[in-house]
Symmetry: C2
Subunit: 146 residues, 2 copies
Amino acid sequence: MVPRTDALTREVVDLIAAVVARYHEEYEAAAAKHALTGAQAKVLALLAREPMPMRRIAQLLKCEPSNVTGIVDRLEARGLVERGPDPDDRRVKLAAATPAGLETADRLSESLDFAREPLAGLSAEERGVLRDLLQRMLGPGAAAPR
Amino acid sequence: MVPRTDALTREVVDLIAAVVARYHEEYEAAAAKHALTGAQAKVLALLAREPMPMRRIAQLLKCEPSNVTGIVDRLEARGLVERGPDPDDRRVKLAAATPAGLETADRLSESLDFAREPLAGLSAEERGVLRDLLQRMLGPGAAAPR
DNA sequence: CGCGTTGCTTGACAACATGAAATATCGAGG
DNA sequence: CCTCGATATTTCATGTTGTCAAGCAACGCG
């Protein structure tokens, strides 16, 4: 009987699981350094790039809008984020990072570039190969969202 | 000024972030199919391989033992897991999957082999290269825990 | 035996997550 | 203009995950 999944594929899947675990660990640790949770760090990073409606945050986080309300509440309570009106639609609230929020986001992004250190062990050529393989693995819709 | 992180590395970091996001999505979705949360699925998968003390589950999940108590409670309430005594140490409780738990874990693992499909687009040779690169990226302590 | 350590649970609490219901606004059709 | 369905956000209830501190039972060493 042919195994549904061959040994090599399984090995790669396990390695990916290890990468995922490691990524999370480092992400949470980096966020914690600034007294943020992972979810808060994600939202702050988004808003540091560009203000956006609550609804859009929920879409990017793939969660319910009612959840975003709480996360932004907590960021706002700490002065890292502000809610403002959308001039074009009074239903919408635009969340935006405050100057303090931008500053925190900056310091955060320095810590949370996971794999900068791990990747250092790879030559530029190898990083290129890795990029191509990951891109093909993720398929066509893998425009990097930075 | 030399950028702290070059464009290629940043690209790879973004791709890894995308892989992590995708992995999570699919993992949660697979777990939800069996009315399990991600954490419950992880614990069940561990116990399907081998019974183990609560303490060890906490170590593998990198969380507090008191947290594991709740997760195992919920799995036990659904008859997927059982707590038994450790013959060698009466402080220890060995958690083990029940037959129903094993069955659920089996069906689960079929859904949650992330990247089996994505990896299909890669040749065996390419998967080998990917494995080597990921291994080197993760460093020496990357023994696959399956 | 006595005592520090270990394994697990309990309780209080915060964050995250979902779903349903309430409110306000928008936009299209009559 | 007015109604009515759709959309954006919030609030509330509820459940799961996570932490930490405290408690209890059992271990094992001196």
